[in-house]
Symmetry: C3
Subunit: 305 residues, 3 copies
């Protein structure tokens, strides 16, 4: 077996591990499937720079030509950002892409797996996957929730993607024993919006308190990750009532056009981009950066625990 | 990290471990959320005494001022029984309460986690959480079921709480691979009643057989807990057809008043208490004692395996 | 405890382990619940012979008189094939049968557990259990899916049994992070038929590629099994549109007769046997043999990794 010949740890990350410095993992489907070239590459570079500015080391996770990358060089990031038909990798197919020599972006689930494997405790993303609207008959539920239930990584998000069924997503996370902590607020954030109709299961107000909570879970031997729901900054949010209208319109359009299965999410996101005249993407980038900043602070606090 | 500074093992329990004597864990939401002071404290003290009388050592699990308690002194039990706004702790927030220095009662899920951590193999409770009525659209399913699927503790109950959807609860337990053993009967008990319309998945008639089953699972390396469903003594049951009427009335009242989410269970239990003129609580206490007795015998049999 | 006194490894399998030769596990509910004596015994013997012919060693898994059998002698197979009221054993009751000294056939879930315990990486069956039709209200989902999510065994099947809800079964497997690989085709096979309306999540074309995929998962420390969906040979299939009619008729008959719960699957299979004038059983045997052949090749490829 070529077991120890399939993972590449980028030099600055290996150095950070050696020196006990904080590291933050980043997913890469936002690069491969989230926005077009060259905006995807610029955004990813900006987010990495922001983590460095906070004193932590960014580790973008991806699969390139069958090798699991823990951190990318600028050249690798550019290559990934221009990849033709990259895979969108989750728990089920992460190893498939590696075994078959393919390239792909890693979802929340796959990024958590890679982060844990590399010893990275904190991971920043935009929003997690969850229970899709209509899941009571479609059974369409993201593998991200299962991964949160079993893999001990702190996932810093702006909540589940707002096109999902937030209420059912919270129910599944409760059933699976996953802590959901709103950062500095009593209300679940809703990705593009600071508020949703749902109270947050738990609330913490500092990166240090989040680090202490996770350290206590580790000390008790409690498995699994936790979800931080970090509201987008007020100046960059799109108000919840405005978004509700756009989401409903996009959903109706999808139904009318008979869009189904894996095509629903990309359709909805593209339609919402049109309906908001591009503002949804601006807010998306803002919330990713906001999450990266918080993740860097949590990683720093954890390194000091 | 303050890892080994967050758990307090009460002296009689540490002594029991040292001498290889049987220990039975007890949950504490029945103290913090199940009945009012001072009845909660009296009931908890009576149940502990009953376990001692059977030759085992009771270990009530709780979190007090941020410390995980494996067994309580009389003073600690009184303090918990009078706590202001205690948390109701499950897998997701057990470590939260500890990290934040709070107090709370432990649900079935959290008690299982603490019991396993402390090396206690048997745990007595009233009824477990499960699939709520209407879960096909609400997705409201207790974290107790997931915990049974992964944590190797024998949970002695009188079945799922009868206000739940028993049939769907049995389906989920089957899907998750959790053994459900009715004690001395072919029918699933229904908490306040000895019978339900559902056949029991498995049946065993002695504490020794239950201990042997669990020891065999351990020997085979099969993960997870098992649920013992122990019917309340005949002289203290409320017949299933009588309870069915009360449960339906309480459910209808909840629907009419628009009670939803986490408020449903406490509302139903309070309404059933009124509808039965207090008999539901008498039966509840009787079944908890009955379960404690069986748990002590199973723990004794396990110690002899 | 009698821990190391409950498993019997049949001599040829112990020898294969010692020599590093490929071993293929086989389930036994097909013997105890799948067809009548003596056809069940003949079929099982034929499948074992076929695996030997491919250069691997067959290990039929079962429980006989409370002992877990890893491989059966001819006498043991005959005994099991004629057992009176054998149990149908899944994760929840495998250890129960052993502790209580009973006999039973092992389902996909229980066979996976035993295979992993014995160190067997590949297992051939007919079709796996999954999400039953109507599960959105019945919550009836096979424990096989949960087992695939946690136990690292390659299960070679002809897809989920076609009387199940294939689409929802694929959704649950995706949620739980289980790879589903169609062998040599882009379409999910449907047990008796080579095709279903659903695209396969993943495709691989050689036993070597499957072995490499699983070896990569192991190298990465990714838990759980994978499902190979191997289409029945063209000359032995029953076309999907023909089967769709029979399945619908059988389902309607079950509904009319009020067949429910655990009785549905045996009723449907018996009715389909009638409706196809026995052809469904011929195809079933053909697909089991086809899966056994592929499983032997995968085991051989894995042994060479
Ligand atoms: Mn999906
Ligand atoms: Mn709930
Ligand atoms: Mn079932």
């Amino acid at each position: 077996m070529r077991s120890n010949n399939i993972i590449d740890v980028h030099a600055p990350i290996a150095e950070a591990f050696a020196k006990g410095r904080p590291v933050v993992a980043l997913e890469s489907t936002i690069i491969t499937h989230g926005m077009p070239w060259p905006r995807n590459n610029e955004m990813a570079g900006d987010v990495e720079a922001l983590i460095r500015k906070e004193g932590a080391v960014p580790a973008t996770i991806a699969v390139i030509d069958g090798r699991l990358k823990i951190g990318l060089s600028d050249q690798e990031r550019e290559k990934l950002a221009q990849a033709k038909d990259p895979m969108k990798l989750s728990r089920a197919d992460l190893a498939f892409a590696i075994a078959e020599g393919k390239s792909g972006g890693t979802t929340v689930a796959a990024t958590m797996i890679a982060a844990r494997m590399a010893g990275i405790a904190v991971f920043a993303t935009g929003g997690i996957g969850g229970v899709h609207k209509g899941a009571e008959t479609s059974f369409d539920i993201s593998a991200d929730l299962d991964e949160l239930a079993r893999t001990p990584v702190i996932v810093v998000s702006a909540g589940p993607k707002a096109i999902l069924d937030t209420e059912k997503t919270l129910e599944v996370l409760e059933t699976r024993g996953v802590p959901v902590i709103a950062y500095g607020t009593d209300t679940m954030p809703a990705f593009w919006s600071r508020n949703s109709p749902y109270p947050a299961p738990l609330r913490l107000d500092t990166a240090e308190a989040i680090a202490r909570f996770q350290a206590t879970r580790t000390a008790l031997g409690i498995d699994g990750g936790m979800l931080i729901a970090n509201p987008v900054p007020a100046e960059e949010e799109i108000a919840a009532d405005v978004m509700a209208g756009h989401i409903a319109t996009a959903q109706r359009d999808a139904d009318e056009k008979g869009i189904s299965g894996k095509n629903v999410t990309p359709f909805l996101l593209a339609r919402i981009l049109e309906l908001t005249d591009g503002a949804s993407l601006v807010t998306n980038i803002a919330l990713v950066k906001n999450n990266a900043r918080l993740a860097a602070r949590i990683a720093t606090a954890l390194a000091a625990e």
